[in-house]
Each structure stands twice: as C-alpha cells, then as structure tokens.
C-alpha cells in the first residue's frame, strides 16, 4: 500500500543507469579529442580548438577541418550505428552470434560496389558508396522478404538468420567471381573489405547522415516492443504487441544503420557483434538502455581503434577494421570466459 510497492524499481537503479550513460558519453568524448589531435601530424589541443572555432587557414587548420573532423564524425556515426544495429539484431534473432551483417548488408554492399565497377565503370568513392548503400538496402529487403514468405506474424528469427546467411553466401560468391576476373574491382574490394574511416571527406558524412539518423530514431521507437518480444512471441502477442510491425521496424532500423555504415566504411560488422556483449552486463536486458549503451560503446571503440591504427605502424596506417578485431576480440574472449554467457 506504500509508494514503494507501486514503484517496483528503486530509485538507485535509474540513477546508476544514468551515471553509466554519462561515463560512456565521456568515453566517446575522449575518443573524439584523441581522434582529432593524434595522427601522422600531432596537433596540440589548443591548435585544434583554434581550428574548430576560428580557422585562419594554417596548416593545422586544414588538417583538422578537412581530414580529422570528417574522419572523427564518420567514426562516431558508424560506431553508434553498428553498436545499436548489433544490439537490435541480437534482440530480434535472439541469437548472440547475430551481427548486423546477418541481413546481407555487408555482402550486398560489396557486390553492388564491384558490380558497379565492372558494369558501369564507376570510379569515385562517392559513387561506390551510393552503390554500396543501394546494394545493402536491396539485399536486406530481399532477406526480409524471403524470411517472410509463407509465415504469419513476420519472419521467425531462425528463418531470418538462415535466409540472411544464405543470401550473404550467394552474394559473396558472385563478388569473388567478379574480383577474380577484374583486377581493378579486386583492388577496390580488398581495401574496402579491410574496413577504414580514413580519407573520406565531409561529403561522405553528409551522404550517410540521414540514413543513420533515421535508423537511430527507429531503433529507439523499437526498444519497448523488442522488450516485449524477448518474453516470447506468445506473451508479446497477449500483451497487445503487433509482432509483425515490431519486427519490421526493427529490421528497417538495422538495415539503415548497418547499410549506411558498411557502405561508407567497409566490413566493420564485427563491432556490432561484440559491442552488445560488452553493454549487456552494464544495462541488463532492457533494450531501452541496452541500445544507447551499445551505440556509445561502439563509437568509443571505433574511435579508439582508429587512433591506434594511425600510430601503431608509422609511416603507414593499419585499417580500423583490423585494429578493431585485434583489440576487440581478445577482450570479447576474456569476457566470454569470465562470466556465464547471457542466453537470449
């Protein structure tokens, strides 16, 4: 009969969740500062601030404004997008092995890119990314449609996962056939495949921004529905959830988020796989918190990996995808070994 009986969640939990959110935001901020100041040419923070606020055309201003800022913004966007997409994907498929590439976006983007090179003679980065984006969207719509056929209430998680794997394998095969026959396609493909956020200007950021923002919005809308779905479809239905709608919104969000980031930055879907495993111990199973945590961890991790890639092998750079795997995977393995894994 007291107020505490009505509010099942003590105030402390909400408080703790907010503090974790702030800590993660701080981590992203540190990543941003590192990413702007560190590189082949180190820029003191004061000069960086000068370049951002009152640019006067000095060498540092140009480095910061035309190279570091777009690269950093793209890193934050892609990290956010892939982290959120990974958590959504694992929630919808209830499979901890699911990564955002599971809907076929990575291979769809790769195939469209190499096909545009040999069929249409595409040769600029912006063109590759447009084609990659289109390929990613088409592939995942195809996967969703395949998973949908013949069933009521939207695709089941297992069908979706299998259809995605099958379509990915199919597209990868076509991609490898093309790159084996065409040397220029091979050359573009191998660098895209390694995953990088370097040498992409602010035009690329503007290109993917609307897709990622739309995806993030849909993801947040989807979180409560996903919470209900994770109780099982029957329970969700009896709670008044429209299952087909919830699944469609979720999959659309994953497609927009991962399609845009993969097209722009190459195959980085691994971020989306590991990040939810790092976020879950902090957030618990509530997707309203899991999604933002995953996004922020994804962004911080991607920036950190990119900065390490810049300094670890001078005078060259190591691609962010490679650093991410070398950095993220051992961490992931330790985590898996230490706790009893969360079953979805």
């Amino acid at each position: 009969m007291t107020a505490t009986a009505v509010t099942p969640r003590p105030h402390g939990v909400q408080h703790r969740r907010l503090s974790v959110l702030l800590v993660l935001l701080g981590a992203v901020l540190i990543g941003v500062v590192l990413s702007i100041t560190i590189g082949a040419k180190s820029v003191p923070p004061a000069d960086a601030w000068h370049a951002l606020t009152t640019p006067s055309g000095t060498e540092n201003d140009i480095v910061i404004r035309s190279l570091r800022v777009p690269r950093t913004v793209l890193g934050v966007l892609a990290g956010l997008a892939l982290g959120v997409a990974g958590a959504l994907m694992q929630g919808h498929t209830r499979n901890p092995l699911a990564d955002p590439g599971l809907l076929g976006v990575t291979q769809g983007a790769a195939f469209a890119m190499v096909a545009s090179i040999i069929l249409l003679g595409a040769s600029s980065l912006l063109a590759y990314i447009w084609f990659g984006l289109a390929g990613a969207l088409i592939a995942s719509v195809g996967v969703f449609a395949l998973g949908m056929v013949g069933g009521r209430g939207g695709p089941t998680p297992v069908t979706l996962a299998l259809a995605g794997t099958a379509v990915s394998a199919f597209l990868y095969a076509l991609t490898s056939a093309i790159v084996l026959l065409d040397e220029q396609a091979m050359d573009v493909f191998r660098f895209w495949q390694a995953g990088s956020i370097a040498a992409r200007g602010s035009d690329v950021v503007w290109q993917v921004l609307p897709f990622i923002l739309a995806g993030l919005l849909l993801a947040m809308v989807n979180a409560p529905g996903l919470n209900a779905l994770s109780l099982g479809e029957d329970v969700a239905r009896s709670l008044g959830q429209n299952i087909a709608l919830t699944r469609t919104v979720g999959v659309t969000a994953v497609t927009l988020l991962s399609g845009a980031s993969v097209a722009a930055c190459g195959s980085l879907a691994f971020v989306g796989l590991i990040v939810p495993h790092l976020a879950r111990p902090l957030s618990g199973t509530d997707h309203r918190w899991l999604l933002p945590y995953s996004g922020l961890i994804g962004a911080a991790l991607l920036l950190l990996a990119d900065v390490i890639g810049r300094v670890v092998a001078p005078p060259g750079e190591l691609e962010v995808g490679v650093v991410l795997a070398l950095l993220g995977a051992p961490f992931f393995v330790v985590l898996v070994r230490r706790r009893k894994p969360v079953r979805l």
């Binding site: 499979n95 901890p96 092995l97 395949l146 998973g147 056929v149 013949g150 069933g151 297992v158 069908t159 996962a161 299998l162 259809a163 794997t165 099958a166 379509v167 394998a169 199919f170 990868y172 095969a173 076509l174 490898s176 056939a177 790159v179 084996l180 026959l181 040397e183 091979m186 050359d187 191998r190 660098f191 495949q193 390694a194 995953g195 195959s267 691994f270 796989l273 590991i274 495993h277 190591l318 691609e319 995808g321 490679v322 991410l324 795997a325 070398l326 993220g328 995977a329 051992p330 992931f332 393995v333 898996v336 070994r337 894994p341 079953r343």
Partner: protein, 347 residues
C-alpha cells in the same frame, strides 16, 4: 515416424527410413555425377571411351581419366563429405544452425597461413620462399587449421567445455584471423592477392591423388568413430544438466566429437581450400530432407559430397576455358536450395 532399431555388439541405434533413403539416393546421384565428371571436359568422351581409358593402361585417355579427372572429382566429393560431416557435428554440439568449422578456427586459421605464405613468397611463387616451397600450400593450410583450432579450444576450455562458450570464443578468434587475412590481402601485390583469393574461395584446379589420399584416410577413420558417437551427440542437444542426468559422460564425448570435426575440416581445407558454405548448408539441407530434429551425420556427408560434385562440374565447364573456383559455385547453388527448403518448411 518410420524407424527401426539397429543393434551391433550391445549398442543400439534408432535408424530412420527417411535418413537411409536420403543417404542411398545421394549415393546413386553421386555415382552418376562422377560418371558425368569423367565424360565432360576439354575432351568429351563417350561411356565406352571412359571405360577404356579407365582400365586400358595403353589407351590415350588413360592419363586424362586416371591422373586428371578422377582424382579431381574424388577430391571434390570427399572434401565435400568431410566438410559437411564436420559442420553437422558442430551444429549439433553448438545447437546453432549458424555454426560451422569457421567458428572452430580451422578454415580461418588455414586462410591466414596460406595467404601469408602466398603474399610473403611474392610473385615468384614457390621460387623465393624456401619455407613455402618445402612445405607447400597443403602443409601450410593444415598447420594453420590445426593451430587455429588449438587456440580456440584452449581459450574456450574452462573447467570443461561449454558448447555455447566454444561458439562465442570461436567467433572472436575467427574475427581476428579474418581481419588479419584482409590486412594481408591489402599489403601484397594485386596479382598475389588474386592467387590467394582463388585458394580462399576453395578450388579443385589441378588436384591429384596426393590430395585424395589424406581426405580418404581421414574419412575412413573418423566416419565410424563419429557414427559411434551419434548416441552421445543425440543426448548433447539437450542442456548440459539433462545430459549429465542421462548418464552421458559429457566432456569426453564432446571433446572427441569436436576433435573429429576439427580433423575433418582441417584435412579437407588442406586439400581444396575452405570451400564456402558446404559445412553450413549441407547439414541444414540434410536435416530438412530427412525431417529429423538435428543434422543427420551420414546424410549430411552425402549432401555435402553431391553439392561439391555438382558445383565442380559447373565450375569447370560453364565458363570454359575459364575455371571458376568451386567454392564460388557451391554457394551460388547451395544458397537458393537452402532458401527453397526454408520456404517449404514454413508452408
């Protein structure tokens, strides 16, 4: 459900008629495909010419049949069977249809060592690098495959082996290997990258008896062993607690089955490269054809062999004179068929 019991030396199995039918049907189909594979190629032969070439040592076709076509076709069928069997075991243990030898570190480990070898030896392949020319690609692949599996196994072991933890650790390790492979592909000359890509895709070009024998031996030893293990595998699909309660000694049974899966995949990969999708798709196709609860071992192996044999026939004839890597075709063929089966199952 039509099943009958099979009892040998105090052990008994439930044999499902549907499983037997699929396996036998696959065997017949495989025989036909092998015959077709002998006939078709740069020189097209009649059945009589094939038979003459096979048994008459002095025939002009003897070399083509016995040294080129037969070992290549056999390598394909055996490698397909081994990969599929390996996939079936891993999917049963992990209780996850997305699991394949990739997550045991076998195929990805082999890819890293082979790509490193190809890139390091440079364009004068086999000429420059002493190590590569002595060991050769198959040895390098075997080393990488077993090494990769050992790393996954060691990292996943913690007071016993949990199927679930094994899969998660395997994914982490596979990600490292895959990205190192991507990186190696970017640092080499684009021609070397191309050659490495052919191997990574899985290819049967120029495979001879030296590629047939290791896979045949591995299958001869491991197939009976894994069939003996089916009984514990059937139990392993339940949760760990149930398994223990059923009286199956879980860790030894599971460890042996995983070891078998690793060896099968490693030997197959050493012979033909990591042929895509066979290990993942064949067990799922066999499962749906036999309508059983988990991937049936023998039927999976048969489906894998047929899939690879068909793929190779297509890979070396359709775009002739260009030969595609067989792995490109296995995925192009297997994926739509798997999708079709998923559809049918839903209706």
């Amino acid at each position: 459900m039509t099943t009958f019991p099979l009892r040998v030396a105090g052990l008994s199995w439930q044999v499902r008629l549907r499983g037997v039918a699929v396996t036998l049907g696959g065997l017949v189909l495989l025989g036909l495909l092998m015959a077709l594979n002998m006939r078709i190629g740069d020189i097209r032969m009649s059945v009589a010419e094939v038979l003459g070439g096979t048994f008459d040592v002095n025939s002009a076709n003897h070399f083509v049949i016995m040294e080129l076509r037969l070992p290549r076709a056999l390598t394909g069928a055996l490698v397909g069977a081994a990969l599929a069997l390996s996939g079936a075991i891993i999917q049963s243990i992990a209780r996850n249809p997305l699991a394949s030898p990739e997550i045991l570190g076998v195929t990805t480990g082999a890819s890293v060592t082979v790509v490193a070898g190809v890139v390091a030896s440079g364009s004068a392949y086999g000429g420059v690098s002493g190590l590569l020319s002595t060991l050769g690609i198959p040895a390098l692949a075997l080393l990488g495959g077993l090494g990769g599996a050992a790393i996954v196994y060691a990292l996943a072991w913690r007071r016993g082996l949990d199927g679930y933890r094994l899969v998660l650790v395997g994914i982490g390790v596979a990600a490292v290997f895959t990205n190192v492979k991507y990186w190696l592909l970017t640092i080499g000359d684009v021609n070397d990258t191309g050659r490495a890509m052919v191997w990574i895709s899985g290819s049967l070009n120029g495979r001879g008896w030296e590629h047939v024998v290791p896979v045949a031996l591995a299958l001869a030893v491991l197939v009976p062993l894994t069939l003996l293990g089916t009984r514990s595998l059937d139990a392993l699909r339940f949760g760990d607690d149930t398994v223990t309660a059923l009286g199956v000694r879980m860790n030894p049974a599971r460890a042996l089955m995983i070891l078998a899966a690793v060896l099968l995949a490693a030997v197959a990969t050493a012979s033909a490269g990591p042929i895509a999708f066979v290990a993942l798709a064949a067990p799922q196709i066999a499962l749906r054809l036999t309508r059983s609860g988990q991937p049936p071992l023998l039927s999976s192996a048969m489906v894998g062999a047929v899939l690879t044999a068909v793929a190779d026939l297509i890979a070396r004839t359709v775009f002739s004179p260009i030969e595609l890597p067989v792995g490109v075709v296995t995925a192009v063929l297997g994926a739509p068929y798997l999708i079709h089966l998923i559809w049918k199952a839903r209706k």
